[in-house]
Every structure is written in structure tokens, then in C-alpha cells.
Subunit: 212 residues, 3 copies
């Protein structure tokens, strides 16, 4: 695989993940009865919040959405379409259908976030954490603004854990001099697969013993 | 109009807007029964949160409130006076009276935020969004910290929409080489006027069809 | 006292404060029935949120937890141990026992945060505020993510006030050319002592008159 086709494939998957994150914001804000402005803002936070926080923590400018402002337009158009055409009965099926591209986006953002952090000379644990932040904090901001405890903190179904695993895989493969594109594919693929299995087989995080 | 008198007028209006934003924080935190520390912090978040987030996103330092730390002192004194002299029966009238300077502040911060973003080479959509962030996110942070869904996301009365319009007017007039001061006056004035009309005539955002 | 032994002592106290902040996150997230991921994230936010926000506001990189990533590992191990060994009946005593190292951490982070802000040429009020932010915002983020109004804003028992006092003491002693280590010891010690007295004697902030 040459670099051009990877970066094309990567960009397409990123877009898919961004769309899934944005739609999660639309569904959540519709549930909370926000007005149209709220729907746009929550969708933008869900789609771009994680990567933006990563870029702020790395002190990286311009932001990815300033370099690729077509992504802003895409989400803008998507939310507009949702506002025009979505009905209550679409919320549940949309959320279910979005689980799969969301898993893809989670894996890819975790892996590429960790690679970016390594390129900024972060130590291993920091790189793994920044990959996780990239994958997870859009959803956290979405839920905080909607006045919920973030789903990823109370769901008991593994999600952030796999992002963290992908981050460590990137760190390990970087230390072993694995080619960047291969590391990206392996780490993102593993995290996505584990997330899909978590949903299909309803895996649970070990229970916090305080509760018993 | 020469530059000096504009910047003087602009600064006075900014102060008025900042005072209105700070008082919205005082009223909200009084409603939520916060202690004195909470009242100061929420007032500061409401007054300076939007501009601070804009400066972080633009990677602009020093912050406007470091360059103009007299604004911090002004809000500090204002909150102290409110703590000493404000009673429950003042909350409602204060909130109503603050709607007009708030509309002025919203228009001016949206327009000047978008101009600043353009000066930092932001693409058009990013500049319009950063203008909106400047005008709106102080109130968002105020409400998030007080454990409310932000008013601007669920109010159905147009507010952020006019900030966004002001941002696009700045972008358009910048492309047409309109003088900066004239663009600022026109965009801020239009957004303020539209907001005042929204309140007076109780305009509503088109309903999100999911609700029906 | 020479610089070496001070910086060693300072580092040990900082670690103690960080541990207290992290455990406050564990206790809060256990109360809110978060899953294991939530417990880690809330503990990290409580422990590192205040200093991170200070560094973002000062545009200071690398973050202190990138330079000292052993602190991340420490909190990681601490939370893991808590997840394995903590039971419901430990929550209350843990919280009570943590009040004293928390007071130490608050005083020290406020004083060192203000010194750092002065080293970045902040004006006096800004330096005092940034010291307060360093000491207080970890707890604010912890509570916001757990969907509570931050305890520090509604507790009526002085906490942030003493951090602010420590910040001003640093500013004053800097203007008087007091040696940095002495200023640090005096300001941090004063704030810690006042906080301990506030807890022991149950001091109250003067009531916000709106409530009566």
C-alpha cells in the first residue's frame, strides 16, 4: 500500500467517524429538546471536540478543522439535513446504525491521535492518553453540555478502554520501528474490532467493588 | 469617524457588554444559591469566558483581560457591590434591564471576534464561528457550571443565530474591502437590532420537527 | 534552607496534594456510580485539571505532567489500587482523611501557580487569579463532569478564598523582593493553616444577602 492510497482511505474513514460522532450529537440534543442552535453546537462539539482538545494540549495550530474546513461544512450540511428530515421515530434506529462507524472512528482517532502525540515528542503514557482523549472527549463534551454524566464514564461497556489499548499499540509499534501506516491500520483495526465485539457480545467492565 | 473615536466608542460598548454578561452570571448564581466564591467565579466565566476561548482557539496571547486587567477589576468591583446591595427582589428586574446591553455586547463581540479571526488568517466559516463563540460561550460556561443546559441552546428565541449573521457580514465586508470600522458598526448594529426585535416581538426559531 | 532541599520538600508536598486531589475524584466518582473508566478520568481531572488549565492560560508547554510523567503513573497506580481494594465503607473516612493533605496541596498549588504566573509577566490580579485557578479548578472539573454544581462554589466554607489570599501574598512578597522559597513557604503555609482552621472551627463565608 502506498502512502497516497492510505491517506485517502484514512481520510474517508475519518469522515465516516466524524459523521457518526456528529449524528450522536444530533440524537442526544433531540432527546434533550434543544432548539436548532443547540443541535448544531452539540453536533459540532461531538464531532470536533476530541481532536480540538488534543490540538490544544499539543499546542498544535492550525486546528485540523481550520486546515480542513470542508469538514465543518460537511457537518453543517448534515445537521441541516437532519433538522429538515429527521423525525422522532428516526432517533433510535439512527443511534443503532451509528454504532459501527462510531467504532471505526474511535479506533482511527485513538491511533492517529497517539501517532500525532509521539510526533510532538510526548512520553509513552502521555501519547496513549492523548489518543484516548482524541477518541473520547467529543462525546464527553456533548454529554456535559446536555447536562448528563458522560455515557463513556458510566456505561460499563468497554469503549475508552479500547482507545487506550490502541494508543499503547501505537507506542509499542513506534518503539519497534513498525511503518506508520501499518501501525495505524493494526491499532485502529484492533480497537474497532474489540469495540464491535463488546457491543455484539455485551461485554462488561469488571464491576467497581464499592457498589457491592 | 476617525479611528481614535471609534476605538473609544468600541471600548465603552465592550465594557457595557462585559458588565451585562457579568451581571447575568450574578443573577444565575444567586438563583442557584451559590456562595460568594461561586458568584465571583460564575460572573467572571460569563464575562470573560467567550473571549478567552476565542483567544485559546486562535492561540493569541496575552489574553485581552491580561492586556486590559482593569476589566477584571471592574467586574470584581461590580460583583462585590452586587453581593453587598442586591436583594432577591432585584434579580428579575436586573435580568430584564440587562437584555439591552447584553444585545449590544453580543453584536459587538461577534463582530470583533470575527475580525480578529480573519486577522489570524482563519477561513470564512471558521471566522464566523469564532465570532459566535466569542459572543455566546461565556453564557454557555456560566450555565454548564451552574448545572443547567445552556439557555442559548434551548431558548428557541434567536440569539446565537444573530451572532453568526454578524460573523458572516464581517467576512463578506472583508472580502469587499469595506473599512474595518464601518464593517464593525454595520455587523454589530445589525445583530443587536435583530436581537432586540427578537425579544420585543418574541420571535421563535423554526421548531425542530422531532418534537412534533 | 538551600534550593535543593526546598525543591525536594516542595515536590513531596506537591505529590501529597496530587494524591489527595486524585482520591477526591475517586470518592466522588464512586458516589456517582461511574464505571472504572469514569473513575480513572475523574481522578485524573481532579489531580491534573487545575495545573493544566493554568498552563494552557499561560501558554506554557510542555505541561507539568509531560515533564513529570511519573505523576501520571502514580495516580494511575493509586486509582487501580482503589478500584481493587476500596469498599463503600471506605468512602467517608477517606474523604475525611484527605482534608489535610488537600489543604496542603491547595496552599502550595495556589502559591506556586501565582509564582509561575509572575514569571510569565502576568499583572498582579491575574497572577493571584491564576494561583487560585491552579488550586481550585481540578475540583471544579471533577464536579462538572459528575454533573454536580462544584462544591467550591456552594460550600460556604472558605477554600478558594484562602487560595486567593496566598496568591496576593506571593504578589506582595514579589514586589518586596522576598526570596522565592521564603515567599512560597509563607504563602502556602498561611493558606493551609487558614483552611485547616476553617474546617476545624467550621468558619462560614458571609451569607449572600439575596438568600434572606
Amino acid at each position: 500500500m502506498n502512502d497516497f492510497s492510505l491517506s485517502n482511505a484514512q481520510y474517508s474513514i475519518e469522515m465516516l467517524g466524524t459523521i457518526a460522532f456528529a449524528l450522536s450529537g444530533v440524537v442526544e440534543s433531540a432527546r434533550r429538546r434543544l432548539d436548532a442552535v443547540g443541535v448544531y453546537v452539540v453536533a459540532f462539539l461531538a464531532a470536533f471536540g476530541g481532536g480540538t482538545l488534543r490540538d490544544i494540549l499539543l499546542d498544535r495550530r492550525p486546528f485540523f478543522w481550520v486546515e480542513h474546513s470542508e469538514q465543518l461544512w460537511l457537518v453543517f450540511g448534515l445537521v441541516t439535513a437532519a433538522l429538515l428530515f429527521m423525525r422522532s421515530r428516526h432517533l433510535e434506529p439512527t443511534e443503532r446504525a451509528m454504532q459501527w462507524p462510531d467504532a471505526l472512528g474511535m479506533g482511527l482517532f485513538a491511533a492517529s491521535g497517539a501517532q500525532l502525540a509521539l510526533a510532538f515528542d510526548s512520553p509513552p503514557l502521555v501519547a496513549a492518553l492523548l489518543g484516548t482523549v482524541t477518541a473520547v472527549f467529543g462525546g464527553v463534551l456533548r454529554d456535559v453540555v446536555c447536562n448528563d454524566i458522560p455515557k463513556v464514564f458510566r456505561d460499563h461497556q468497554p469503549y475508552a478502554v479500547w482507545a487506550f489499548v490502541a494508543g499503547w499499540m501505537i507506542v509499542a509499534m513506534d518503539a519497534l520501528d513498525v511503518a506508520q501506516w501499518l501501525a495505524l491500520v493494526l491499532a485502529a483495526g484492533t480497537a474497532t474490532l474489540l469495540r464491535v465485539l463488546s457491543v455484539l457480545l455485551d461485554w462488561r467492565l469488571p464491576a467497581w467493588r464499592v457498589e457491592s
